[in-house]
Point group: C2
Chain length 397, copies 2
């Protein structure tokens, strides 16, 4: 009998976790040795980060220990990936001198903020990116609110959200829920707080159904959110943002949600990338590298219906991971791989705790019903990840 | 029948509140018109501020709305005192053009931090002073801890407490309770956090019983607190503190508890002051002003036993207010005033939630029993302030 194949999975996001779990389920340890590398001991729910960022939920509700999710047959290494050495079939880690070798590599290293070259953004804005970054946004915002009592400067309680895509709108929705509580806590009159959502595109939630977009904008506006559409940010400074045309909004808290790009480690590996993302083939392989698979935000797939890239979503990453695990298991046993076809199940954007908008199947949903569907979707991920036990531990309806 | 006498009480701290409440209880509205001026709508418990400063209790547990404490016969004005015009018998307010006139003035405007001329302290340190300032300390500290995850700089999780008097030691005690919780929340190993208590005097808690001081230092040291005694702070910078001798401690959070001085408004009024405090006579009158009474931290009384000033405490202010109310009521009715004699009931310093040290009567207490007595003392103030109703609402054993 031959040696077990070495499968190395980089990143425990939606794509990486689904791949590692699926492989462990389908292959025995004599067929494959599966190793998962992740910089944190935990997986976090990227789609939920807007809540701890606003302070409407504890960040611990947004993460789960990886060790509790994996079967013992998967080896877990907590470390950061430093470099991928394609020719040597090895991966270099930051914390260890030993390199990890592989027969098959699965790259699911996620994304980094895309700043589109906006001056000062990386230095002065906050990003909804991971547990550390959203915990920091929350603490920063609360600290600014606490200073208002003494200093009475309006910029301390002015929040600028850059980007009105999915994350931006969901974050604004959470803020709308949180501000009244913050105002009570810090003795600030509610009318003093400003939430300004700035978007360069001509609409909020580009690509989303128009009636649903109107519902979202009407709802959030009724709660006091100011929208500045078709308005690119020219510069982010220590004092706030300067918009195209010259208007300055003074703000101590600028949160950028305007887009993501792929991972720098992938760019540096020598694989062809576009904004750090790899245009994969239908088997999710990197071009020219038959043993390297890319899942999640690092991968780029074209939607043939409109000839544009699919947006990077948890749903996409999850389906990719599930399919890749099946394909790799089959291939290692000498079988065939099947082309990956994305099957969109629908999309729901929450606007705080009680309201949402969405499309599920062919149905448009708004309000409380949509908010309920959002919960169902969240619970489904918990179920895929850790079965009914995790749903009971982490799920909140 | 003559006009009612106008009694104007400035400040709703322990002294001012007790005076206003006592007067309203003892005199009818045809005898006196009592007005209480305070910058906030609430009274706060100065002796409890170390808890919200550390984050071990919500700041709302440390304050109570003044309107809920006063009988209707007392007129409450929420404003800041701008100036006391002794010759005109008037008080100028910041928010109103109308001046308040008085026949009798009671000044209980509290204290301000005393920095002893230490360079950079006012600009760079935090002060345990009022609700706004402690809420800010808490938020600042938490924000620094949240940044540690990204930046890994030790100064972010190094807290320097200047002064090892009552407030300093009680604050350090609360921090010792809080740090493990913060470390869990921010994913920081507990051993990384430093609490350094710096004191210029040759002992912690100067004036306190030696055996009790040893108990406190041993307990807090066992929890990891570093004490630097006989060590004046030379300078406080944006980076931390520089100690006498040149040692620098890098710290993002320097909290100064080293002492208080009287109120600037009192200094500016023309009354003789020493560090902003007025050396009152035995009827609590300002020297040379028979109708002006000073209570609480603005007053200075000499302890004849050791010929040194009594430290400004809530206990002192409360007793002064109670006695002054009786004296003024009697005087307005044409009776006598009795000399004020301070009767120390004892002192308990908490070291977190479960441990304390103290002297009550002639008994030395340590540990849990002392902690219990501290609670009793806190509840007694609630009882004096608002009766059993307030004890039930705000008291927590």
């Amino acid at each position: 009998m031959s040696e077990p194949k070495k499968v190395l999975v980089l990143g425990a996001g939606y794509g990486g976790l689904m791949t590692a779990k699926g492989l462990a389920k389908q292959l025995s340890s004599s067929e494959a040795e599966v190793t998962l590398v992740n910089q944190n001991s935990y997986h976090y729910f990227t789609t939920e980060l807007h809540k701890p960022a606003a302070g409407t939920s504890h960040h611990d509700h947004t993460r789960v220990e990886i060790a509790s999710l994996l079967p013992r047959s998967v080896k877990f290494v907590q470390d950061r990936v430093k470099a991928i050495k394609l020719e040597e079939k090895k991966v270099e880690l930051e914390g260890s001198n030993e390199e990890l070798s592989y027969d098959y590599l699965v790259v699911g290293l996620g994304s980094a903020p895309e700043t589109f070259g906006i001056k000062g953004l990386l230095e002065n804005a906050y990003f909804i990116r991971n547990i550390d970054s959203v915990r920091r946004i929350r603490e920063h915002m609360e600290y600014m609110f606490s200073r208002y009592a003494d200093e009475k400067k309006d910029e301390l309680i002015t929040i600028v959200v850059g980007g009105a895509g999915f994350t931006g709108i969901e974050y604004v929705g959470e803020l709308v829920d949180r501000i009244p509580e913050l105002c009570r806590y810090y003795d600030i009159p509610e009318g003093k707080v400003r939430i300004v959502n700035v978007e360069a595109a001509p609409t909020v939630l580009p690509g989303f159904d128009e009636a649903l977009v109107k519902y979202a904008v009407d709802y959030l506006s009724s709660k006091g959110v100011e929208f500045k559409i078709s308005t690119p940010i020219e510069e982010c400074t220590e004092e706030g943002v300067i918009l195209k045309g010259g208007e300055e909004i003074k703000s101590a808290t600028v949160v950028w949600t305007g887009g993501v790009r792929g991972n720098k480690v992938v760019e540096d590996s020598g694989i062809d990338t576009m904004r750090g993302r790899v245009k994969v083939d239908e088997l999710l392989r990197a071009p020219g590298h038959e043993n390297v698979f890319i899942v999640g935000d690092c991968s780029l797939m074209i939607n043939k219906e409109n000839d544009r890239p699919y947006p990077p979503t948890a749903q996409m990453a999850t389906q990719q991971g599930q399919q890749l695990a099946k394909n790799l298991a089959s291939f290692i046993r000498g079988g065939e791989m099947k082309p990956f076809v994305y099957e969109p199940k629908g999309t729901v954007a929450s606007l705080g705790k009680r309201v949402a908008i969405g499309v599920v199947g062919s149905k448009k949903l708004t309000g409380g019903l949509a908010a309920f569907m959002k919960k169902v979707i969240d619970l489904r991920w918990l179920y895929l990840l850790g079965g009914i036990g995790l749903v009971l531990r982490k799920g909140k309806l």
